[in-house]
């Protein structure tokens, strides 16, 4: 028999539902099959609310709230779809596409890319903004993995997974604003890193083609971000303890 978890009533897009106390709006919505787009959020990692795609309207709150980091409260009324939210999400996606070189046609992740999928879901049929066409050096120095910063959207999943789960903190964000970029160690080639354990969790977590396996060709890369949540559960010994309680 499962333990009883306290619940609170909330309304999402006019539908009343039971939320588990302490969970986020995003978690509750997804459990109930409500689609809120997101990119930086990854189950198992701490939320940073950086991509801003999951912003929702909460009744009696003037500000939009990131669903990934907003805890449910009793009788909360959440709107996840409105013409304003849709237009904002689309614009944010266009901004992301414009700031990198996201050429899907020649990308390792083409067809299996979270960024591409979200763009489809948000109705992005073209990008209105000026393409920044950055020229960032691809780092293929690692024997197993490749980093293409031109396809990076700075979601920081790799930074967090490396710090929070693997504990190596190989990755971090350097510089700031439009100059921000991911670096390994002191911005030396990844292959020379003395802190990297080759665990590959950063690659597994990546929502785009920025991190991939060596040798992947167009459309061949398959990321496995869901493994992170499993790993976290395992580290908390959730399974073994459940076994023990039986």
């Amino acid at each position: 028999m499962a333990e009883r978890v306290p619940t609170v009533p909330i309304t999402i897009d006019g539908v009343e539902m039971e939320a588990t106390a302490g969970e986020t709006v995003l978690q509750c919505a997804r459990r109930h099959g409500v689609d809120i787009p997101s990119l930086c959020f990854l189950e198992g990692l701490s939320p940073v609310g950086g991509c801003r795609l999951c912003v929702v309207e909460v009744a009696e709150d003037l500000r939009l709230r990131p669903a990934c980091a907003t805890t449910v409260t009793s009788d909360m009324e959440v709107t996840t779809q409105s013409s304003r939210l849709r237009s904002y999400r689309r614009s944010i996606l266009e901004l992301l596409f414009a700031e990198g070189n996201h050429v899907c046609a020649v990308c390792v992740s083409n067809g299996a890319c979270e960024l591409q999928d979200v763009a489809v879901r948000c109705g992005m049929d073209h990008v209105r903004y000026e393409l920044q066409a950055p020229r960032r050096r691809v780092d293929a120095s690692h024997p197993r993995y490749v980093f293409d910063p031109n396809r990076c959207i700075l979601c920081t999943r790799c930074v967090r997974v490396c710090d929070e789960i693997e504990g190596a903190h190989v990755w971090d964000v350097a510089h700031r604003g439009h100059g921000a970029e991911l670096v390994t160690d002191l911005h030396r080639p990844w292959g020379e890193s003395t802190s990297c354990t080759w665990c590959g969790k950063c690659v597994a977590s990546c929502p785009t083609g920025a991190l991939s396996h060596q040798g992947s060709s167009v459309g061949e890369m398959r990321h496995t971000p869901d493994m992170i949540a499993w790993l976290v559960a395992a580290r908390r010994r959730e399974w073994t303890e459940r076994e023990a309680r039986r």
Partner: protein, 184 residues
């Protein structure tokens, strides 16, 4: 008169502290690391002192080389990428040795309204140097600053730590000519 942070690049030749026998000598044999050590000891190698330590290191060495960053990372037991991320986040840290002379043009609002952009453009053109860079001959580093708080004197130019108020493009160029001995 030099009350701004712009002169912080200052004297590595300042008062030398004795090398702490408790710490291994830096492999390079550069005893300037002892000055960094003095600071580290005073703050008990506390990790939240990273920014202060970088300030000290930059004062001592003039800029932050990879070697110095790695030294600080090891001393504070922080991952190198974190130290690099912090150092590059803040404007005041620099990673290249500065030129012989440093010219900083304030581009705060008051200076902007009074034409600071023209000064920057003219100095950049005349000396063939981009903002944030050092000229090819290593003689001049051109920087901009976000308000030095001397708005009553706008527009303001700081040359080698000395503040000059009420500047114009031609005035700033003359100032540089005086200091650098003309454009070659």
């Amino acid at each position: 008169m030099s009350d701004t942070a712009l002169e912080a690049g200052a004297s590595a030749s300042g008062s030398r502290h004795t090398v702490d026998p408790g710490r291994p000598e830096h492999p390079s044999g550069d005893d300037r690391f002892a000055l960094v050590d003095t600071h580290l000891r005073r703050v008990h190698d506390a990790q939240d002192q990273l920014i202060e330590t970088l300030h000290v290191a930059q004062d001592v060495f003039g800029f932050l080389s990879d070697d110095v960053l790695l030294y600080v990372a090891r001393a504070l037991r922080l991952p190198p990428s974190m130290v690099y991320g912090v150092a590059t986040f803040y404007h005041l840290f620099t990673f290249e040795p500065p030129g012989e002379h440093t010219c900083t043009v304030c581009t705060g609002t008051a200076c902007f309204v009074k034409g600071a952009d023209d000064i920057v453009a003219d100095v950049a053109t005349a000396h063939g140097v981009h903002v944030g860079d050092t000229s090819a001959d290593g003689r001049l580093t051109l920087r901009t600053a976000r308000c030095l708080g001397s708005c009553g004197l706008a527009p303001v130019v700081v040359l080698d730590g000395v503040v000059h108020g009420h500047q114009s493009p031609s005035g700033a160029l003359a100032l540089l000519d005086g200091e650098l001995g003309g454009v070659r």
